[in-house]
């Protein structure tokens, strides 16, 4: 098992910036208001029978002022670059050249956004008999936009963030679906806690309004169809509804934050991750239990924010794990935001930090009784992220002090 935690003698790591652009809205207040009012933005018609949580429209100009930059990106990169800018604003370091020139970036990303017209054009022409050996080559040479490649490369989300916001430290992009988001936070935390880094921008973004992604997940029958239901109520109607979101965090050593007078939302105490073999029923639940035991939880008011997808058998495995902790209030980001894949874990950390800083957990939104009410202010929230196919991660977010 790999894990990082602030060990004795290591520096405390604070969350000093949060940037959110989601299906519920832009910024912390809009997202908090929607969560508090149990408002979900779900589209059952646009991609029917598939269901998505579409991005609440934002004015990209506000964070990506150059149209030329916007044109060089596809939607997933624009969403992420936008949310990253919000996180830098939130931390009060937007445009601060001294800090941005050394900030370390760890991004969790997918990629591969396709031009559906090009793909369909090639395939229908072939269906009509185009079979010359060079047909595909010629069509791709003439039809693909040269810059589309840059919108497909996973590391070009980080690249675009660096260009648009002027980041000049280090840049690493992790791939691998849901757990990539946990690993990004894990490595960034480890680097700051050990003194390798002072400040980092961590997060991801996802465009769920993509039929090419739906094809990929449809291969495994993972898409939620026909009718929306909260994640916990999908047992007989399993699947995830893809969501669009960008979620970025600024992580910072306590000393670095204090030196510049930055206030924390919360501290990130530990991130752990593992790869359950998932060969037998119970494998994944056992791994989640092991990760839970590794977190340095304390006495106090706790809660769980999970990115459970709604896909089976992973969600039932996680429900089994949660049953062992039935006294801890649980919230599902999958219900509220849809499944945002690599972004779900950073989103969970963001909402944990936000809940701690606002002194309340957002209300349950579930008909099965899995999510229970919570009174009072949470002091520690465990973020859970178990992939729909592979990968398990957890983080402990705590109140400072």
């Amino acid at each position: 098992m790999t894990d990082t935690a602030s060990k004795p003698g290591q520096t405390e790591v604070w969350i000093t910036g949060i940037g959110l652009a989601t299906s519920l809205g832009e910024g912390l207040d809009a997202n908090w208001a929607a969560l508090s009012e149990k408002r979900i933005n779900v589209d059952e018609k646009g991609f029917a029978p598939y269901i998505v949580h579409p991005l609440m429209p934002v004015s990209f100009d506000a964070q990506i002022p150059k149209k030329g930059d916007q044109r060089q990106m596809e939607a997933w990169q624009r969403i992420g670059t936008y949310a990253a800018g919000l996180a830098l604003d939130s931390a009060g370091i937007k445009g601060n050249k001294d800090i941005l020139s050394k900030i370390d970036m760890v991004v969790a990303a997918g990629g591969g956004e396709r031009d559906l017209n090009v793909d369909t054009g090639v395939l229908t022409a072939e269906a009509k008999g185009a079979n010359a050996p060079g047909f595909l080559n010629e069509r791709l040479m003439s039809d693909l936009r040269p810059t589309l490649f840059l919108a497909q490369l996973s590391n070009l989300l980080a690249g675009n963030i660096a260009i648009v916001h002027g980041l000049g430290g280090t840049s690493r992009t992790f791939m691998g679906e849901e757990v990539a988001g946990a690993d990004a936070a894990r490595i960034a935390l480890a680097r700051i806690a050990s003194g390798e880094s002072d400040i980092a921008l961590v997060g991801g973004s996802h465009n769920g309004e993509r039929k090419d992604l739906m094809v990929l997940y449809e291969f495994g029958d993972f898409n939620l169809k026909d009718k929306f239901a909260p994640v916990w109520a999908r047992k007989d109607h399993a699947g995830f509804a893809l969501g669009s979101a960008g979620a970025f965090l600024v992580l910072e050593s306590k000393a670095h934050a204090e030196a510049r007078g930055a206030k924390p939302f919360a501290k990130l105490s530990s991130v752990v991750a593992d790869l359950a073999r998932r060969k037998q029923p119970g494998d994944m639940a056992a791994t989640l239990e092991k990760l839970w035991d590794k977190l340095p939880r304390r006495e106090g008011k706790g809660a769980i924010i999970t990115g459970a997808t709604g896909a089976e058998p992973a969600t039932s495995e996680e429900r089994g794990f949660l049953k062992g902790h039935a006294d801890v209030p649980v919230r599902s980001t999958g219900t509220m935001f849809g499944h945002t894949m690599e972004t779900q874990f950073p989103l969970g950390i963001a909402l944990a930090a936000l809940s701690i800083s606002r002194g309340a957990l957002f209300p349950p939104n579930d008909s099965t009784g899995t999510e229970i009410e919570m009174q009072g202010a949470p002091t520690q929230i465990v973020v859970v992220g178990a992939g729909h196919w592979r990968g398990e991660g957890m983080a402990l977010v705590e109140a400072v002090g």
């Binding site: 098992m1 395939l123 072939e126 590391n155 840049s171 679906e177 390798e196 039929k211």
Partner: protein, 425 residues
Amino acid sequence: MTAPRDKLGRPVVVVTGMGIMTSLGAGKADNWAKLVAGESGIRTITRFPVDGLKTTMAGTVDFVSVDPFSSTGLSERMAELVTQEALEQAGIGAKADFPGPLFLAVAPVEVEWPQRRELGRAVGKPDFTYDDLLRISGGGKYSAYHHRFMFGSVAAHLAETFGTKGSPISLSTACASGATSIQLGVEAIRRGETDAALCVATDGTVNPEAMVRFSLLSALSTQNDPPQAASRPFSKNRDGFVMAEGAGALVLESYEAAVARGAKILGVIAGCGELTDSFHRTRSSPDGKPIIGCMNKTLADAGMTPDQIDHINAHGTATPENDKMEYNTTSAVFGELLQKIPVTSNKSMVGHTISAAGAVEAIFSLLTLEHQRIPPTINYDNPDPTILFDVVGNKARDARVTAVMSNSFGFGGQNASLILTREPA
């Protein structure tokens, strides 16, 4: 007796196992023999039709079979083979029980054309929309394609096969990915999280769309005939890089752990550095500052000064811009010393193995240290007069080599450098 900690008080990180595969062949012995003999692995592509392509050659790995074929499947198979080689050499852990984490550099994964075409045929009518493709994708018929085209699938397979510990990390920093995988392993050991790490980098993505994408960015050489002469780093008539496939694996250990178990030490990862360039998506900042900063950071990380570097394994892609920029930045860092530092580009022979290149070239650098012989930069018949490197042109050169700097630069402003030495400093 050498200190187990470096000048900065961190555990010294050593290499105890290496595995490699390129278009030249499988394994260290075969690759090294061909590399120092100046052989090229670049050939005309036979895997798919090249009609209509501007570039028709590449450094493909055609001797590894994968069924059903996919670029991701080939990447996975190559990664598995090089890891086996590295683990056999290291003799670490038990079968399927590697005592540390996996850091995997892998090309971004996506559904590929053979599978997309299979869907297109399965629709069963001449006129259809993308929605028709989507509707027939479910039902379990193509469930294997879900697993195949998950970004994390290659790492999950390697982690399960070799029993690495914890959550394996799949990463991309474009053409610097291989170096980044090593850097992540070095950092994990230095932080004391683990005594050992498995760093693997693989790329099997010579396919029509990948060729077209790089062609549309005018990045590839079009000197197709003869293919062996296409990759011309530091030459006046260089016109782009040559896409290639390959993989490299390194077993990293703390010096202390390696000595304790009596492992043979193959070399030291003395320093790593990276620095982001925020100038442009595909081009370096004209002032070269990020690359200069990257090399300086790496020297500082190794606790070394430029005069201690006696060989540079260049990124040397043979694109007009890269080689010029690499010379300008390297000369800014090394100054007068540069005249005495032999420089070579392995890409002249194996092509650009993209996501794997950083690891492949780190391994070649370590073999250079072992054999005290620098592989040549072939096709160096017409030197660029503005690039005043001491290029090891066309013939391998025996030299005293104690410390190598290996550089990798990638799209998206990715710069990463490594310093490799024979012995702990």
